[in-house]
Symmetry: C2
Subunit: 120 residues, 2 copies
DNA sequence: TTTATACTTCAATGATGGTTGAGATATTGA
DNA sequence: TCAATATCTCAACCATCATTGAAGTATAAA
């Protein structure tokens, strides 16, 4: 059960443009993750800057890192994201599931890559 | 489809202790909402302070307000919360649903009030 | 209309956060 | 070992945010 302080740290981490883009990139990249250099290139910031933000995200528990050769690979910590969602929506409907059902549906849809397939 | 800027504003709004408590209180309160005074009392801040934070949350689109007599009633905007979750987890699993399945489960469980029932 | 209640607005203060660039550390190949 | 690559640490600067208290607005009751 995620604590309030943990949730606050996570939301603070996600409230900055570069960091939100990093997390989105790692969420879509999957468990294999991405090297710091690739991330910096992808979001268009300096290496020192991406390093700062990666540390923030790691401290918040949203991403994890491992060394591979001279690269450091970062990846999303999916359970932390699940926990955050659960914290936000806990006891959301007071016995009225129709109130929070759209949220469940929205999350279910996340497993359908890149929207256009929905129209197929 | 939620835009990045909208998500950033929402996460920034949720990254402050008083505001996170306000949202949690309104999420559990349900669509009827709560009067500003009750919210201030519940989280233990001054009326001027809760007013400031309620405005922030309203600008972020996470809560809505309506006047009822001399009270102003605030309530959670559930679709905004769903949208935020969807934005964060979009394309999360790259064809591997098992990666994001725990998030779906966590959210499903939100309709089961106060956690302990999980152990039953 | 006067008084009380419920909230909001405003300005001033102190605290926190983001960016930058220079220098340091770690790994690899020549 | 030397040089190149990849990333991190640090300090300084500027910008943004939270809190407070006083004054203002809106509604309702006496």
């Amino acid at each position: 059960m995620m604590a309030e302080r943990q949730a606050l740290t996570a939301f603070a981490a996600l409230s900055q443009e570069s960091r939100l883009r990093i997390v989105r990139a790692l969420v879509t990249a999957g468990p294999e993750g991405l090297a710091a250099g690739l991330i910096a290139e992808g979001i268009g910031v300096s290496s020192s800057n991406v390093s700062f933000h990666l540390k923030e995200l790691e401290h918040a528990g949203l991403i994890a890192s491992r060394r591979e050769g001279r690269s450091i690979i970062y990846s999303a910590v999916y359970p932390a994201l699940s926990g955050l969602i659960a914290f936000l929506m806990r006891d959301c409907c007071q016995g009225r599931p129709e109130v929070c059902a759209p949220a469940v549906t929205a999350l279910d849809a996340c497993c359908t890559p890149s929207g256009e397939i929905v129209h197929a």
